[in-house]
Symmetry: C2
Subunit: 203 residues, 2 copies
């Protein structure tokens, strides 16, 4: 299809598509003339993915570029990419918080965590902020949060294809983990707020 049809099909305006092409987020089409190229269903899919990551995942374009780079890699090392993705995906911790308490929590939970993990610093930062405003959770509340997070993570991992099985290529696995991590976060937060509304209504 031509770029005009790609715009219609994806619902994304031509100037935006041209911008994604220039920025390397969207692979070029097959040239058919000096100023024309032919695009395929893969381009429509890629555009939907970019919009989902930007609109729903609220990722900056630099992170989207990282992600599509991993997807375009022919033979990614899945474990390495998952680690890199968790580190590279926003939000990035800003404050310089001691991760000791967060690490102690994950140890209490029996989780194996890299002490340099960005998510561990995010956890430390969140605990510190709750402390600062006098809303720190006690261990019982933290355990409920951790258990809920683990239940969700378990179904996340259980529904992730295994490379070599399920006809899954490494790129499929990367797509699942990275995109799933980003796009399921707003789903979880929306459900939490809705559950709160239901409980408040009943109370």
């Amino acid at each position: 299809m031509r770029i005009s049809e790609l715009a219609r099909e994806s619902g994304i305006p031509i100037p935006t598509i041209k911008y994604y092409l220039r920025e390397g987020l969207l692979p070029p089409g097959l040239p058919t003339a000096a100023t024309q190229a032919e695009y395929g269903d893969g381009h429509v899919e890629r555009l939907r993915l970019i919009r989902a990551l930007v609109d729903i995942g609220r990722l900056p374009l630099a992170s989207v570029r990282d992600i599509v780079g991993w997807l375009d890699d022919d033979a990614p090392d899945v474990g390495a990419v998952v680690g890199a993705a968790h580190e590279a995906l926003p939000p990035t911790p800003e404050a310089n918080v001691d991760p000791a308490r967060a690490l102690a929590l994950t140890e209490r939970l029996g989780w194996t965590i890299d002490p340099g993990s960005t998510s561990l610093h995010r956890l430390a930062e969140a605990l510190q902020a709750l402390d600062d405003v006098g809303l720190a959770p006690d261990d019982a509340k933290l355990d409920i949060y951790a258990r809920a997070a683990a239940e969700v993570a378990e179904v996340d991992i259980a529904t992730t294809p295994v490379p070599g099985q399920d006809d899954a290529t490494p790129a499929d696995v990367v797509r699942y983990v990275v995109v799933g991590t980003v796009l399921y976060e707003p789903l979880l937060l929306a459900l939490r707020r809705l559950a709160q509304q239901d409980l408040f209504y009943r109370r």
Copy 2:
């Protein structure tokens, strides 16, 4: 204390404190001279709250202004403020998505939800985005997410003080609900990513 001591105590630079004073985020101190004022512990607390909402909650200053406005209200209507807070707190849905499917999900879960709720639109948006990229959850996966969200919401509500009981003023309740909603979100997301890391490590 003087503004210089307030800056030392809170770790926030004087120009930033002056900016918050001008913007009405921080109540003025008690004037002691033409260009001097006296600040108290309440100012230190308020500054910590503002930083937590900005740094960890990643709220825009306009939302922080709304929140401190609710806290400064002498006799807030708690139910109305909780509703207003959920509607006013980011992220705001951008896309125009039909909430029918999200509403059907909350009905299946037996939750009582206002069909105009922003969180319902956020849920609809997230479901649509996952559909668009071919990662839509089936009902079994959605139920696990919803159950985890409900467990977390239950402890949220259970640890919220009741006005009139626990020496809680309405402002305490508002602070708990609004600030807790915002600051516990990064905690939950960090725990989910850490639980995924642990499960990936074991797999």
